[in-house]
């Protein structure tokens, strides 16, 4: 059975193996045992409420209970940029016009901004290649939305995810080559690593602080501002389908897009509701189901999420087996939070999705974004 639970120290070995597989794109999951151990500790202290609410970092693990190992992780930061500084570029428009000469010129301009300061972040999503099938990816990513729904008071009203930026087949980021390299005198991977391990002073020290007019960058760099790495497209599509939008914020190193949503507007938060559990005989979960239910318990420290077929839901009762009850840590009469794993098909009465809404503003078509979070 596949179940999501808070990560524990015993998972360190599995986690280290995954980080080594992840490569340099994953800023927040560096392949450094000491740092990963610190991350697990940080998560444990957050789930056990030892850390101040605003500084909590939650890491969820996808456990294959049959194999007795974890095969994926994802993170959730309560608030970024409160201890250090959180940087983005904002893509804005500068207009220079002279009516006397009949000239009207629009210049996209990058402004260094700290506007995400205090917002919650989805981060560190990683799933082992062997498990990239069925509903595992969606389960792992969306489990966080039920946590957000259940414990909204512990998070910012706004949550965001940074998508890995475009790089070519050789791993070269045209944006970095055209901008960052000229100021940082570092390789991209090193800058990325230092950021991942929280050593950010060098950004304040070496970063250009004045706005950057985009036409000063290479043609290629200009074109990939706000574009994601190919591998990241599915993750981005998933977030967009949940109501996340690109509003012009990009990563300072690789110009990958940042997508954001108000927690209350996230589809899986908004549509989720509480039902009561009845433990008894129940069919095992059929993972070939394209449209299962995402189900979490309502416990903080012992938070668990797993999938059920919709047939398990009968009126306001969720019928589950003893084994399922055990893994979910619930008993008959307990409440669980449920939501469709995928968005139900639109009917004509629904609010039009905001998808594509920022198209006009920034000249990029966000439908082209794909992702994996940093």
């Amino acid at each position: 059975m596949i179940v999501i639970r808070p990560i524990e120290q015993k998972d360190l070995g599995d986690l280290m193996r995954m980080a080594e597989n992840a490569g340099s794109g994953l800023t927040t999951l560096p392949a450094n045992e000491e740092l990963l151990k610190a991350k697990i500790t940080s998560s444990e202290e957050s789930f056990s409420q030892k850390t101040d609410e605003r500084h909590r970092f939650y890491m969820f693990a996808l456990e294959d209970t049959d194999a007795g190992q974890i095969a994926g992780v994802c993170g959730l930061e309560a608030a970024v940029g409160l201890g250090d500084v959180w940087y983005n570029y904002r893509v804005s428009t500068t207009v220079n016009a002279s009516s006397e000469l009949g000239i009207h010129k629009q210049t996209p301009t990058l402004y260094l901004t700290n506007d995400m300061t205090g917002c919650s972040e989805l981060c560190s999503l990683f799933l082992d290649a062997d498990y990239r099938k069925g509903n595992n990816g969606r389960l792992l990513s969306k489990c966080r939305f039920l946590f957000l729904a259940q414990f909204a008071h512990l998070f910012s009203q706004k949550v965001f995810a940074e998508m890995r930026g475009y790089s070519d087949e050789n791993g070269v980021s045209p944006f970095w080559e055209s901008l960052g390299r000229k100021f940082f005198s570092l390789e991209f991977t090193r800058a990325d690593y230092l950021t991942g391990v929280g050593q950010k002073s060098f950004i304040a020290e070496l970063m250009p602080k004045y706005p950057i007019y985009l036409p000063f960058l290479s043609e290629e760099a200009q074109q990939i501002v706000g574009k994601t790495h190919d591998n990241t497209r599915p993750a981005l599509a998933m977030l967009k389908s949940e109501g996340f939008n690109f509003n012009g914020l990009v990563d300072i190193f690789d110009a990958g897009p940042l997508v954001e949503a108000f927690v209350e507007n996230i589809r899986a938060v908004r549509q989720s509701r509480l039902v009561t559990v009845e433990v008894g005989t129940a069919k095992p979960f059929d993972d070939s189901d394209r449209d299962p239910l995402l189900v979490s318990n309502t416990q903080y420290e012992d938070f668990r999420v797993t999938l059920f077929n919709k047939s398990s839901l009968v009126g306001k009762l969720l019928l589950i087996s003893k084994e399922q009850a055990e893994y979910l840590k619930v008993n008959t009469g307990d409440q669980v939070r449920i939501v469709s794993l995928r968005e139900p098909r639109l009917d004509s009465e629904r609010t039009p999705s905001e998808a594509g809404s920022s198209k006009k503003l920034h000249g990029q078509d966000p439908t082209e974004f794909r992702t994996q979070e940093h």
Partner: protein, 345 residues
């Protein structure tokens, strides 16, 4: 014989001819007849000391080759050079430059120390006295003519300091491409002004500065983001301007941190007290020479405002009264007992 003197309305055609055939860019001297005429009128008022132009004098000098006057009405004008002094750069409007500064982006922890050149828009040269509008006919480029023309202005400034600021600036034409474009412009200004270099140059000569305020990028520019060609020509004088550039360096001018906003050309600056022509200028008396004057080469001028005139001659620098030929005295419009000012050439 070459004489440098105030421009007059009768010089209009001659100046126009000179300007339109000039190799060098002359932002401060339009080739439009009505604007040129206004400019001459403004110069006339300036040389006349008229109150209405006080504080914004714009002096325009011409160099005439008197040896050509014999065949008057010939198609060749006798105006062989033109040069100006604006008492007050910007002439009442902001005077735009980039100022090149360097920020040090330094990380103690990573032991990285980058010097990052940055261009800031500045108006700090506004109001300084500016040498401008220098143009000379091609066949006079070699020899003494250019130096006489250029330094006559310095002599004039030394004689009438009350009109001028304590520092003098000169904008030197920057390096251009073979098709009269500018790599600096193509990498910077073009993105915002949305026109080619020639158009920008043209508008800057004939329009108010409003369009610059409207179109110029307002944030500082990081030099490492400009094209390699643009970085290479920043602060470099055009070949066509290099003789004049060297001449000013010898005069005591030094390069400043300022660049032309259009072509990235350098700006030279000097304190009046450091300019050799000003330091070495003396008053003397004259008398009619009985033979062609001999001695060291000197610039000699009539040190009056409205009749300022300057020629080259040989003279004995140790004598308090120097000898001048009749035609020199006439060219300088000197009268008996007038003082003259001299400076070694």
């Amino acid at each position: 014989m070459l004489v440098v003197r105030p421009a007059d309305h009768s010089d209009l055609a001659g100046i126009e001819k000179l300007v339109t055939t000039s190799e060098a860019r002359l932002t401060t001297l339009s080739n439009q007849r009505d604007l040129l005429s206004q400019r001459i009128e403004l110069s006339r008022q300036s040389f006349s000391g008229e109150k209405s132009v006080a504080g914004k004098e714009r002096f325009l000098f011409v160099m005439e080759d008197l040896s050509q006057q014999s065949d008057a009405k010939s198609c060749d004008s006798d105006i062989v050079g033109v040069a100006g002094i604006d008492a007050c750069a910007g002439n009442g409007a902001p005077f735009y430059n980039y100022r090149k500064d360097e920020l040090i982006h330094s990380s103690h922890q990573l032991d990285i120390h980058n010097r990052v050149p940055v261009l800031y828009m500045t108006h700090e040269l506004t109001g300084k006295t500016q040498l401008c509008s220098l143009s000379i006919r091609r066949e006079y480029k070699q020899g003494n003519a250019l130096e006489l023309l250029s330094r006559s202005r310095l002599l004039f400034i030394g004689l009438f300091r009350e009109f001028f600021s304590r520092e003098v600036i000169v904008e030197i034409q920057g390096k251009h491409t073979e098709d009269d474009g500018s790599s600096f412009w193509d990498s910077l200004g073009r993105h915002f002004f949305d026109m080619d270099f020639k158009s920008a140059d043209y508008f800057s000569a004939i329009k108010t500065k409003t369009f610059i305020a409207e179109l110029m990028p307002s944030h500082p520019i990081y030099v490492p983001l400009l094209s390699a060609q643009a970085q290479a020509v920043m602060g470099k004088p055009n070949d066509a301007a290099s003789v004049g550039y060297q001449l000013l360096l010898r005069e005591g001018f030094r390069t400043s941190k300022h660049l032309d906003i259009f072509d990235g050309g350098p700006t030279l600056i000097a304190r009046l007290d450091d300019i050799h022509t000003l330091k070495n200028c003396h008053y003397k008396r004259f008398q009619l020479a009985e033979q062609r004057p001999k001695g060291s080469k000197f610039m000699v001028c009539n040190p009056t405002l409205s009749d300022f005139r300057c020629v080259l001659t040989g003279l004995d620098e140790h004598e308090q009264t120097v000898e001048l030929e009749e035609r020199q005295i006439q060219a300088l419009r000197l009268h008996e007992d007038d003082r003259i000012a001299v400076v070694p050439f």
